[in-house]
């Protein structure tokens, strides 16, 4: 079994890029994402089928648009008997398409992203919406990544797009005053897409694996169009750092390896270098933020590649900053774990105990696993055993469950 060749990937990239640009432009001009997608659907499918073998045409947007216009005329003809509004929309798409210079289509993908991540759109749908409209992923692939039934995902996507149109969500960059908050929503959605692709390092489900790359790509789009926004740079650095370790997360026989047991030689050096450069650029802009801090934590971990050790004091400090900024209980758990490395298991456990009242952590597996590890280190076997049991119960991934079972069996005096 061999995956797609680099040339294939490059051609697919080109097709998705041109498609995204055209959807963004047509949607912005007509206010209707669904119609823009409809108009381009067949042309995009044809591009995905032909470019990887026949090569990317010289003016990719012109190629797609020519194919799409045939389809639009066809659609307009077929829908003549339907709503006048649909008819009008198709005509306006056709009009816009006719007046644009396909060799010089402005890149409005960022406007499309801002529309997808608008506060009037359900936060859970922003990531899926971006993956579909900007990258042209199909609902089934998105559903698989977000652990949703394809039909339900497809319906939600349709509804969200209708909502963009019906509520009059604009396709433009937010005002300067609104930009930080609105950009944050875009970055959150991209990170959600990345997170959805994360749990499958073995790549058994190619569609979920692909999502990591797609999210990174969305990050690249944001950075290329808003190069002076440090949080965009921070998010991309964060995703590259995490992604650099994806191949090292399993042992040769498929077992789960926690970060501390991974072999840094297996990390993707090029991705780490790129992440470091981005992070440096971000910090030179002098506006710290959540994603930059998270990326900085990853950067400290990545330094183990050359130094052979992990600077846990630096990590605790970064988590302090993150906690002050976000008040996130997940950050607090990570901070407690880091603290156990600098101040010992008792201190780490005390920090976790302070979080015990937080109902949001009751079903958060890493919190239970961290507690179990620290209890085990302190020789409190019965409590550790119970905490492991809870962590195992909460973990959906069988490989990680097996890892937790192994850790648990170490502390069992009567284990075989």
């Amino acid at each position: 079994m061999s995956g797609p060749t680099p040339a294939h990937r490059a051609a697919e990239r080109a097709a998705r890029q041109s498609y995204g640009k055209l959807v963004a432009y047509l949607a912005a001009r007509t206010g209707d994402v669904a119609v823009a997608e409809d108009a381009l659907a067949d042309a995009f499918a044809a591009a995905l089928a032909s470019w990887p073998t026949r090569g990317v045409p010289q003016t990719p947007e012109a190629w797609l648009l020519a194919a799409a216009r045939r389809r639009m005329i066809d659609m307009a003809r077929r829908r003549r008997t339907r709503e006048a509004a649909t008819e009008r929309l198709l005509l306006s798409v056709e009009e816009v398409a006719a007046e644009m210079d396909p060799a010089d289509v402005p890149d409005w993908r960022l406007r499309l992203m801002f529309a997808c991540a608008h506060p009037a759109i359900d936060a859970a749908m922003r990531g899926p919406l971006m993956l579909q409209t900007v990258l042209g992923l199909d609902a089934a692939a998105i559903a698989a990544a977000f652990l949703t039934a394809p039909k339900a995902m497809s319906q939600r996507l349709v509804r969200a797009k209708r909502r963009i149109h019906d509520t009059g969500i604009p396709f433009r960059l937010p005002d300067r005053a609104d930009l930080p908050a609105r950009l944050d929503a875009v970055l959150e959605a991209i990170y959600a897409a990345f997170g959805a692709g994360w749990p499958d390092p073995s790549g058994l489900d190619a569609r979920r694996q692909g999502l990591l790359d797609e999210a990174v790509w969305l990050g690249h789009v944001v950075v290329s169009l808003l190069p002076e926004e440090p949080e965009g740079l921070g998010l991309l650095a964060l995703m590259l750092h995490a992604g650099a370790r994806r191949g090292a997360r399993r042992s040769a026989n498929g077992d789960y390896l926690p970060l501390s047991e991974q072999n840094p030689a297996l990390w993707d050096a090029a991705a780490i270098d790129e992440a470091e450069q981005l992070l440096e650029r971000a910090s030179s802009l002098g506006r710290i933020g959540r994603f930059q801090l998270e990326a900085a934590v990853q950067s400290v971990h990545a330094a183990r590649r050359s130094s052979g050790r992990t600077d846990w004091h630096a990590i605790v400090e970064l988590y302090d900053g993150l906690l002050a900024l976000t008040q996130s209980p997940v950050v607090a758990v990570n901070r407690a774990v880091a603290l156990s490395e600098t101040a010992g298991a008792v201190a780490g456990l005390a920090a976790l105990d302070e979080l015990a009242q937080d109902a949001r952590l009751a079903a958060y597996q890493p919190c239970w696993a961290a507690r179990a590890e620290l209890l085990a280190r302190l020789g409190r076997r019965a409590s550790a055993d119970a905490a492991y049991a809870q962590a195992i119960l909460l973990e959906p991934d069988g490989v990680v469950r097996r890892f937790l079972e192994q850790r648990r069996s170490r502390i069992r005096p009567n284990s075989a």
Binding site: T167, G168, I169, P170, P174
Partner: protein
């Protein structure tokens, strides 16, 4: 696009608001209405009498009945509306944020159906 900004609030709380404070609120609404007029976005606006003045028609088993009171008992009631004409949702939301009603209750922003 035209949007309706439907202003919801607790009528009972409004009833027990002291007179001076009520005057302040009325003044704030007048200033807001003027701002909408000056920006040439206001199409129409009205304040509604409380739901105690509402009469509701409902057809049950083919019979249309006249009922006293609002269509439903809710914590917040529709107290008035602004109909505005602005380019997009962001513009509508920005106007809604400035509405005095947002401090006492909720503003529902809904586009008008274009036929």
């Amino acid at each position: 696009m035209q949007y309706i900004l439907a202003v919801y609030g607790d009528e009972r709380a409004a009833e027990s608001t002291p007179r001076e404070q009520m005057t302040e609120i009325v003044n704030a609404y007048m200033a807001y209405t003027k701002a909408l007029q000056d920006a040439k976005v206001l199409v129409a606006s009205n304040r509604l009498r409380p739901t105690s003045a509402a009469t509701t028609l409902r057809t049950v088993d083919g019979q249309t009945k006249v009922l006293d009171g609002p269509f439903a008992e809710t914590k917040e009631q529709l107290g008035g509306y602004y109909l505005i004409d602005v380019p997009d949702l962001d513009a509508a939301l920005n106007w809604a944020k400035r509405c005095p009603g947002v401090r006492h209750g909720s503003i529902e922003v809904r586009p008008i159906w274009v036929m």
